[in-house]
Symmetry: C2
Subunit: 191 residues, 2 copies
Amino acid sequence: MGRWEPNARGRLEEAALELYGERGYEQTTVAEIARRAGLTERTFFRHFADKREVLFGGGTLLEERLTAAVAAAPGSAGPLEAVAAALDAVGPLFQERHERSRRRQAIILAHAELRERELIKLATLARALAGALRERGVGEPAASLAAEAGIAVFKIAFERWVGEPGEADLRQVMREAFAELRAVTAGAPGP
Amino acid sequence: MGRWEPNARGRLEEAALELYGERGYEQTTVAEIARRAGLTERTFFRHFADKREVLFGGGTLLEERLTAAVAAAPGSAGPLEAVAAALDAVGPLFQERHERSRRRQAIILAHAELRERELIKLATLARALAGALRERGVGEPAASLAAEAGIAVFKIAFERWVGEPGEADLRQVMREAFAELRAVTAGAPGP
């Protein structure tokens, strides 16, 4: 097998999801994932550090897209608006993978170790968003608060969306969650 | 040494913080912590599962106090108001331990493993708060959004507070952060 494998990464992700669903996450080995994908273990390790990371490979791309979208938001946008625009911009990344997102979520929810890794991923995204807001001149704590609030909206909207039928629109679910956050926050006490 | 040790838990926590500060977290053993506290390893393990958990022993008490305070908030309080009241109620738990909180934070920030454990603790608190809000009749996603937003405020305010001089008032810092969250959220786009 040659060194160059068309879409090796996507094939490994798909094979891992299949095997985790069929046999369970713990029972699946890297060797089995590679075999199912028609690739070698060597190729696997060129793309992923271990079998856990196959589930989190999209984190870097997501972070890049989110921070770029925050930077590209209109100058008039407030911090949470910029975060909302960024989440809106990445919606299609997930929309076309609704079924895959659903299978991934089921595996993650079933394993404490994976839930923890997901928390780390979300915290990393929040930190990156806060940094992108500071680049726009937003001060602290506004930047961190907007970033954390935006990631909370994303987390909750995403969980709703994966539980809904395939036609559900993640962007619409996120927009509704932002509106709900605004309603909930409007009643908060002052200093 | 008898089985009953006055304030064994607090002595172990203090000894652990001292040793982690002096020698580093990795280099410190449970045997050393017990010795510094004037206690046995057996006593240590009656209170904590391992040397990491000495730093997170307050999580259960915090969760109990927060959920009780959400339940006790006036019926007229909105979901984020109830969460803000709960955080206000636990402020004194930390206020009297400002110096200890600062030392603990420095150790946690220096170790990825401990930062991850802290994220899990905060996620657990958010889940407990959301549950307490649902008990009050708050629907979803409002309950989870208010809980996550409240924990974001707590996290950011706590980080500010530990970095400030001993006289800083955590409750005041949290109230300012809630006001900032409200300001940031007021500009969010509608659905």
